[in-house]
């Protein structure tokens, strides 16, 4: 089969292996996960055994040395089967990428192999009730007390928090230094003084619960990632990566929706002939395919830049923006092709629509992506 630009045989072999697991193990459960709000963290150990939980890491810390393209293809395959699971993995990567990017070898050695092996799940705590798209506005404080920091504050919408082994927390070490006053810490989940609230009631990705987490605890100085004040820089680099993960999740949900729409259009007969014979439906399919392929290409372009070690913040933002907006359009249009049946919970379309909605919001809303893209041009 001919591949999209930049995908190697190895990338495909990895994606095929992930796809097989995803289709056999995740896809059949996806509607139950959604219906009953079953936490997809239950899949973490199986995914770790497969090699997915450490896929974003170098081999030294339990990764497999996969290319950025392989990572994208794999996340897309998982999202195609179960959006919640892709989201759960994305949150884990946010945490481990933070340690990989912000930490030194000592702390990498302490946390990353366990994260890759599935022994410990990661969570990422940046957003606050009053600081979502503006991390500089965070008020969580980390104050030095001897060999510890006293961490105080509330973080919002923290995925995986309850089942996590460790949480990467971003907090102000210098409240007067703006973004340069933010530092990152790895906090063991069961440190006294951490309270994880009941999960939020979500519209979609209902198998990837998000929690409010309250911190009033001590964190060893050794658990700080890099220097004081380096946290914002780390977070931005982490988000460059994670926006590609969100793009990949968008692509996977879109693939699932489009495949369902095409199958339905060919199968469903209206007035004695398949829907697919109708030009109005054909144009819908064409528009979906066009936007999906465009999103693939810009996402793979961003991955290629990442793989080459180039700066790719703007491409990552474009990929996330393009793919998540496409996912909104494609899942919605695919539902439309299904008519009334698409609106029932018997078919996966309504779930795909709900799961896709968060992709335009988290890890930088679409509006933030536009700002990132524009800044790269005018700054």
């Amino acid at each position: 089969m001919s591949e999209r630009l930049g995908i190697t045989e190895d990338d495909r072999a990895i994606a095929d292996a992930v796809a097989r697991f995803a289709q056999n193990e995740l896809a059949p459960q996806a509607h139950i996960v959604d219906r009953d709000e079953i936490r997809t963290t239950r899949y973490a150990s199986q995914l770790a055994e497969l090699g997915v939980m450490g896929m974003n890491l170098p081999e030294r810390w339990g990764g497999i040395g996969a290319s950025p393209a392989a990572l994208i293809l794999s996340i897309a395959e998982i999202a195609k089967a179960c959006g919640s699971t892709a989201s759960m993995i994305g949150a884990h990567y946010l945490a481990t990428d933070s340690i990989l990017i912000g930490g030194d070898d000592m702390i990498r050695d302490r946390y990353l192999p366990d994260a890759a092996s599935g022994a410990k799940l990661g969570a990422f705590a940046l957003t606050e009730p009053g600081a979502g798209s503006n991390p500089a506005g965070m008020i969580t404080r980390a104050e030095r007390e001897g060999e510890h920091y006293r961490l105080r504050g509330v973080k919002q919408f923290i995925s995986n928090a309850d089942d996590a082994g460790f949480i990467v927390v971003y907090a102000k070490t210098d409240p007067n230094a703006g973004t340069r006053g933010i530092s990152a810490f790895v906090v063991d989940r069961h440190t006294p003084g951490i309270t994880v609230s009941a999960p939020e009631k979500l519209m979609g990705i209902r198998g990837a619960p998000a929690h409010e987490v309250t911190f009033d605890c001590l964190v060893p100085v050794a658990n700080r990632l890099g220097e004081e004040g380096a946290g914002f820089y780390t977070a931005m680099k982490v988000l460059d990566n994670s926006r590609l993960d969100v793009a990949a999740t968008s692509l996977g949900l879109s693939e699932a929706a489009l495949a369902a729409a095409v199958a339905w259009a060919k199968e469903r007969k209206v007035g004695g002939e398949p829907l697919a014979n109708k030009q109005g439906i054909q144009w819908m399919l064409a528009d979906m395919k066009l936007r999906l392929e465009a999103a693939w290409l810009i996402t793979l372009q961003a991955a290629a830049k990442r793989g080459a070690g180039e700066k790719f913040s703007d491409y990552s933002a474009m990929a996330k923006l393009c793919a998540s907006e496409a996912a909104g359009f494609i899942t919605d249009t695919a539902l439309q092709v299904h008519g009334g049946y698409g609106f029932t919970r018997e078919l996966p379309l309504e779930r795909l629509v709900r799961d896709a909605r968060i992709l335009r919001i988290y890890e930088g809303a679409s509006e933030i992506q536009r700002t990132v893209i524009a800044r790269a041009m005018v700054a």
């Binding site: 509607h31 199968e267 469903r268 049946y341 018997e346 078919l347």
Partner: protein, 316 residues
């Protein structure tokens, strides 16, 4: 044109597939020889000799042939094959185990699973799990075919009188030894792998009806039991029975939809079944649009009647 048919039997009676294979053989030749290899074959030799169209029954009897071991049987058939233009065996596990081994011994490319004979050297066979039918021509001087018994009419079992010839049973090569055989008890098969599925819908009205009406019927057919989502939601059948978009996607040889109206979600799960039979009291039910055979009426009368007729009809 003489054709050799390798008989499948259990040393006592011929397997029905052999009769269909002889039926296929009569399409390529006018004189049929049947090889019976086994042990203690007197009764089956008699029966075979009475099949109309069979000119000669070749009998090889020895203990090492008793269980149809391919290692001992293949050289025997290979020795005979060169005298014929066609050698046919049923496309059963017996025929498929044996005939390719024979073919390689005489350097011939066999043709598996023949479903139609176009001419003496041209045959139709399914490939890609039956999604494609290939027409193939054999260039070998002897054609070795395994034939699908369902695609050919069986010959009658009486009316002929063939010559019986005893042949050298060959040697026991001692490479393989029969240990045991267990024939499957009629426990209910899994939905995904069942050859026949009997599915019930809301029309059954209760879980008791599922048990009393559907289960005996399914057991009689060795069928798996399925259900529509409506029946599952109503609690008539367990979750794992559900056939349809959100349940299991099945494609058995034969699918009975009993009291199922045929919502599109259900059809998505079973429309690839080879033969679909629908029983429903509503003649307008959408299930009849995909059914090969529709029976309109009260399932509580029709299913037991069907069960009774099956017992009479296919008892042999």
């Amino acid at each position: 044109m003489t054709v050799l048919v390798i008989a499948e039997h259990d040393n006592h009676t011929l397997k029905a597939a052999t009769l269909s294979t002889i039926g296929a053989a009569l399409q390529v030749g006018d004189e049929i020889h049947v090889l019976l290899a086994g042990q203690g074959l007197a009764a089956v030799v008699d029966a075979t000799a009475r099949i109309p169209g069979v000119a000669k029954v070749l009998v090889a009897e020895e203990v090492h042939l008793a269980h149809g071991l391919a290692e001992n049987l293949a050289p025997l058939v290979a020795g005979l094959a060169r005298r014929y233009l066609h050698v046919l065996a049923p496309a059963s596990t017996f025929g498929k185990n044996l005939l390719p081994r024979v073919a390689a011994l005489i350097d011939v490319a066999p043709v598996s699973d023949v479903i139609a004979i176009e001419s003496p050297d041209t045959f139709k066979r399914p490939i890609y799990a039956g999604n494609v039918i290939a027409t193939v021509q054999s260039r070998d001087s002897v054609k070795l075919l395994t034939v699908r018994s369902t695609a050919f009419s069986p010959v009658p079992v009486a009316g002929g009188s063939a010559e019986v010839e005893t042949m050298d049973p060959g040697l026991d090569l001692g490479q393989s030894r029969f240990v045991s055989r267990q024939l499957t008890e009629t426990s209910r098969p899994e939905l995904d792998s069942a050859r026949v599925i009997v599915s019930g819908g809301r029309g059954l009205g209760s879980s008791e009806a599922f048990k009393q009406i559907l289960e005996p019927f399914a057991d009689r057919l060795g069928a798996a039991i399925g259900a529509s989502r409506a029946a599952v939601d109503a609690g008539y059948a367990p979750n794992d029975c559900q056939v349809g978009q959100t349940g299991k996607i099945v494609a058995p040889q034969l699918y009975f939809a009993v009291g199922i109206s045929g919502a599109i979600q259900h059809l998505a799960g079973m429309k690839d079944s080879k033969v679909i039979v629908a029983i429903n009291k509503d003649a307008e039910a959408p299930i009849f649009q995909v059914a090969d055979y529709g029976l309109v009426g009260d399932l509580f009368e029709l299913v037991p009647e069907l069960l009774a007729q099956l017992d009479v009809g296919i008892g042999a």
